[in-house]
């Protein structure tokens, strides 16, 4: 596909020629077919286009039955089939020394050492949550957790990345409240700690919130489980909940279409979660897996049995015969299509040999988990569904999982990008004296995109399983210890994990914004002492049929792919969520990065708090005049525009390597990266976390607002003991990166001066902390976050900044 032309016709089918050929497996039988006159209309109602309906007929060599058409409509939906994105996703690097399982299975897996491996993946549950936030978010957690234990791993942590409209709007408060309660309600009961995440508020998410959930699981290397069906005559066994009419069409008509006035009517397409059932399912599946009783294991998510079973058949190169009468049903008179399409939660599908069946059933009985043989593995390579002994569907299995249509949509650079990037922040009037600077600083501390997320994370059990070494709010990433009681040896290895995406940057420059999402994630785990290792992602965009949206999608993917290559962090899996629009307006591009880092000893990590009076504050990297697309512009001027901060991969590498080394060798007493709100906010966060003040002198020759609030990348704030100053300076000189001793941990105020001693900021930490800690709960209570003018007094002596570095 030529890169330089935007004139490729939209909706071009790239693989039509391969749809039918003589190697297709022979049909097993003939179901009752649809009326050829009415079938195209039914196909459209199910979310397929007329072209796609023709493709279905080609694949089948005839008009389909209703059950067949339903299954195709689900498997070829955007959500399951990645029709618009598959060609683009190939651009990601997916290989690396650590990668045990890349994209294509339920979740990616990396090796950690000491015989341990980590499975992780992120997934979005945006549309269900916009309709019913509690259940939408809860079942989002349930779904990604099943992906992880389907790989053979015990789910040990989850994170979430949330986007809503402004909290000034009551519905947005309702959505946030419901989504947080749903994530907590499910994860807490399940006993999987929610250890981190991120949240941003902007009007672009008002009609289409984002709920991305990431889960991590630990396993012994030998536990890696496949989803490929095998062994003719083996049983296909369904575990867990009964099957009802809930969630039918979730993948096709909910997740793969834009929102409009009719969205509320789609509430029945949202599933309902039962975390208790999921907890039992985790335990029973892991026990059976550890005892070697599964041939294959897969989870039932979007498109239910249709998806899980056809993927098992296609990846194993086998056929499957399923009798829908055997599926335990919650409601009477469900049709085969409904049973195959149901997205009832808390179900898993496995292939079990006849010899092991009795043992599997006994284990399930002990845990109180339903388990039912619903079919058999065959050698036909056909996906055959029967009801009352009659064939109702007979499909070549590979057509469903592998032959979804692929589109290379047209793309065109949106005109708004030039307008946004052409904006010059210098055209605004900026404060230059202390009073105005302090007002801006306090507004930023109260800005919900910056303020503490304590109100949220205190509703999540972040410690259950007793593996969380660094808790929410303590550092730039969560740190987990590796190990499980009773399985494998004790290990000192630690895993750091963070989710990141500043979509404001992506809005003004999709490629650079996506790169920043990646390097910020890398920097976050580096600030705990972990080496960035691999990522998952959730690619949230608007309607790909719009050339401007698809342009942005391509740009973001290419930027993210470049950053992954430059930083050596492959993509092991992820999720694409398109059609994130409401009333025709797309969300800002939001390519969320879930970054995983590893460290040899989880006990040797850094947190962000300034904890020792007198420690020297060192800034790695160098502040530039980069106020474009900054939170300062948005919060204090109501403007989104300009160019995002520059990305310098070499500097980023140098800063991260130096940070990691200083932490591991014990010299860095704290570490925190500079992001939204710039150096001023980062310093205040270190002060609040550690309960100390700081006295900092900036000599960067920038304007005061740029000095304080510029969001230049590749900057880290460290503290070191004065006793270690010389050796730290040697290490940093050797690293060859820019650095500067900018001040000391001192007193009870956040104090920032320029070289001549002019005060930029001198605000009591307590005052900044009050705004920072309580802003979100105040906004939720319908109050104003409340910032007033500056009234601090200089408590520190400006003459004695004492930075020796």
């Amino acid at each position: 596909m030529p890169d330089d032309k935007a004139s490729i016709p939209a909706m071009k089918v790239t693989n039509a020629a391969d749809l039918a050929n003589e190697n297709d497996p022979a049909p097993v039988g003939m179901p009752e077919l649809l009326d050829p006159e009415k079938a195209p209309k039914i196909a459209q109602d199910l979310g397929l286009t007329l072209d796609e309906y023709e493709m279905v007929c080609t694949c089948q060599g005839r008009v389909p039955s209703l059950t067949e058409l339903t299954i195709y409509s689900l498997m070829w939906s955007e959500h399951c089939g990645y029709k618009h994105s598959k060609n683009e996703l190939k651009k990601f690097p997916t290989e690396g020394a650590c990668v045990m399982q890349g994209p294509g299975e339920n979740a990616g897996v990396i090796g950690l050492g000491d015989g341990w491996a980590l499975s992780f993946k992120a997934e979005s549950h945006n549309h269900p949550s916009a309709i019913e936030p509690y259940q939408g978010a809860a079942t989002g957690v349930g779904g990604i957790v099943r992906d992880i234990f389907a790989m053979g791993a015990r789910p040990v942590a989850s994170l979430n990345s949330l986007r809503f409209g402004s909290l000034a709007k009551p519905r947005q408060r309702y959505l946030l409240d419901g989504a947080v309660a749903g994530i907590g309600g499910y994860g807490n009961c399940l006993g999987v700690p929610t250890v981190g995440g991120e949240i941003y508020f902007d009007d672009c998410y008002e009609g289409n919130c984002l709920i991305d959930v990431m889960c991590l699981g630990l396993m012994r290397v030998e536990d890696l489980q496949t989803g490929a069906g095998a062994g003719v005559g083996n049983h296909l066994v369904l575990f867990g909940s009964t099957t009802g009419r809930d969630g039918i069409g979730g993948a096709s008509t909910l997740a793969s279409q834009e929102f409009d006035e009719a969205a509320e009517n789609k509430r029945p397409a949202v599933q309902v979660g039962d975390p208790f059932e999921e907890k039992l399912l985790v335990e029973v599946c892991l026990e059976l897996l550890h005892r070697g009783l599964f041939v294959a294991l897969g989870d039932l998510g979007a498109a239910g049995i249709s998806s899980a079973a056809s993927e098992m058949a296609s990846s194993g190169g086998v056929g499957l015969d399923i009798e829908v009468d055997r599926v335990p049903q919650r409601e009477p008179e469900m049709t085969p299509a409904e049973i195959m399409a149901s997205e009832s939660q808390e179900r898993m599908l496995a292939v079990v040999t006849p010899e092991n069946l009795a043992e599997v059933q006994a284990t399930c009985a002990r845990w109180g988990v339903l388990c039912t043989v619903i079919g058999e593995v065959t050698d036909t390579r056909r996906f055959v569904i029967r009801q009352h002994g009659e064939i109702v569907a007979d499909i070549p299995a590979a057509k469903l999982a592998d032959d979804a249509p692929r589109y290379s949509p047209a793309y065109e650079r949106p005109a708004y990008l030039d307008e946004l990037q052409g904006f010059d922040p210098a055209s605004l009037e900026h404060p230059s004296a202390r009073e105005g600077l302090e007002r801006a600083f306090l507004e930023l501390m109260a800005e919900p995109n910056i303020a503490s997320k304590r109100w949220i994370y205190e509703q999540y059990d972040y410690q259950v399983q007793d593996g969380t070494a660094v808790l929410p709010g303590e550092a730039d990433a969560a740190v987990l210890r590796v190990g499980m009681p009773g399985r494998g040896p004790v290990s000192s290895i630690g895993v750091a994990v963070s989710t990141d995406c500043n979509s404001r940057y992506c809005h003004v420059d999709p490629s650079e914004g996506a790169k920043i999402a990646l390097i910020e994630g890398a920097r976050n785990v580096a600030c705990t002492g972990a080496t960035p290792t691999a990522i998952t992602n959730c690619l949230n965009f608007g309607n790909p049929d719009k050339p401007e949206v698809f342009y942005v999608f391509r740009e973001a993917i290419e930027g993210l792919a470049e950053a992954c290559r430059e930083m050596g962090t492959p993509v092991t899996g992820g999720n694409v969520s398109l059609y994130n629009e409401s009333f025709g307006q797309a969300i800002w591009p939001t390519p969320m990065v879930g970054m995983v880092g590893t460290m040899p000893d989880y006990r040797v990590h850094a947190t962000m708090g300034f904890e020792h009076e007198g420690d020297i504050i060192v800034l790695l990297g160098e502040t530039a005049d980069e106020l474009g697309a900054s939170q300062y512009l948005a919060t204090c001027h109501g403007v989104t525009g300009g160019r995002p901060p520059k990305v310098d991969f070499e500097l980023e590498h140098g800063v991260e390597a130096a940070t990691i080394r200083l932490i591991r060798e014990g010299y860095a007493k704290s570490a925190h990266d500079c992001s939204e709100g710039g150096l001023a906010v980062a310093l205040a966060e270190c002060c609040i976390a550690g309960g100390h003040g700081c006295m900092v002198t900036l000599d960067d020759e920038l304007s005061p607002v740029a000095s304080l609030f510029s969001e230049t990348q590749s900057r880290v704030i460290l503290t070191v003991s004065p006793d270690d100053a010389d050796v730290v300076a040697d290490i940093l000189d050797e690293a060859g990166i820019a650095y500067d001793g900018i001040g000391r941990v001192r007193g009870h105020n956040v104090t920032v001066l320029d070289e001549s001693g002019t005060v930029y900021l001198d605000v009591p930490v307590e005052r900044a902390a009050d705004l920072y800690d309580h802003s979100i709960e105040r906004l939720l209570a319908g109050e104003h976050a409340g910032t007033s003018g500056a009234d601090g007094v200089i408590e520190n002596d400006p003459a004695d900044d004492g930075a020796a570095l």
Binding site: K279, R366, G368, Y457, E458, Q459, Q465, G467, M484, P485
Partner: protein, 231 residues
């Protein structure tokens, strides 16, 4: 010293308790809820979690698990029993401890580290002097202790309030220091004999030092010393 850690369907702190006890050097084995005897164990732990999904009412179904009959009987003969979080709820439902745990004030799940003040009590489980303040995490949705006035007065009069939510300096401000709205700021209580102890906070999470603190060990070491001395 052999602890038995009961596993109900939906328990999710069972592994954590075993890990903490093993870290302290004790033997700790799981006890499946369908077993019928706790004989042979020196102490029993009912761990945290959401047994039976907390459906109906926290602990209301678990208390009918076969193992509980033996737990109740042996507790009556002095067997040490500790119920943590959901385990505390089960102890109340089983009638081994008075009162009930109701929905938190504010109606939200609360996960945070809170200061607890050790009270002068008859509890056999604590290795901490009265007045000591320790930071222990709570994580619950239904942790607000409730009992009628008579019961509360009796608990206070007989030294059965074991730990109370307090400020970092140890002062208790009624109606304010309990994050969940517990009456009398109660975080944990015991029975008359002091062998049955229920508390909402999670000492097992601050025992082996994974996040820096080991203050939780003192909630398990006293009973081990006592059992060891009487053996």
């Amino acid at each position: 010293m052999r602890f038995g850690v009961v596993q109900f369907p939906g328990s999710n702190c069972d592994q954590d308790v075993v890990r903490a006890l093993q870290y302290l050097g004790y033997r700790a084995d799981f006890l499946w809820h369908q077993e019928t005897s706790v004989v042979g164990f020196d102490a029993i732990v009912l761990p945290g979690g959401f047994s039976y999904g907390d459906y109906l009412r926290c602990g209301a179904i678990s208390r009918f698990s076969p193992i509980m009959e033996s737990v109740v009987e042996e507790a009556g003969h002095g067997l040490p029993v500790i119920g943590i979080c959901n385990g505390f709820q089960v102890l109340c439902e089983a009638g081994l401890l008075p009162g009930a745990l109701v929905r938190n004030k504010g109606l939200k799940f609360i996960c945070k580290s809170v200061p607890l003040r050790v009270e002068e009590s008859v509890c056999q489980w604590l290795d901490l002097a009265p007045g000591t303040v320790v930071d222990v995490p709570v994580a619950h949705n239904e942790g607000s202790y409730y009992a009628d006035e008579t019961t509360l007065a009796e608990l206070e009069a007989t030294g059965r309030v074991v730990v109370r939510y307090c400020r970092p300096d140890g002062t208790v401000v009624p109606g304010e220091t309990a994050p969940n709205g517990s009456l009398h700021d109660i975080a944990g209580i015991c029975n008359e004999a002091g062998n049955v102890f229920g508390l909402m906070p999670h000492p097992e999470r601050v025992t082996d030092g994974v996040n820096g603190s080991r203050v939780g060990s003192a909630f398990f070491t006293a009973i081990a010393k006592r059992v060891g001395a009487s053996a």
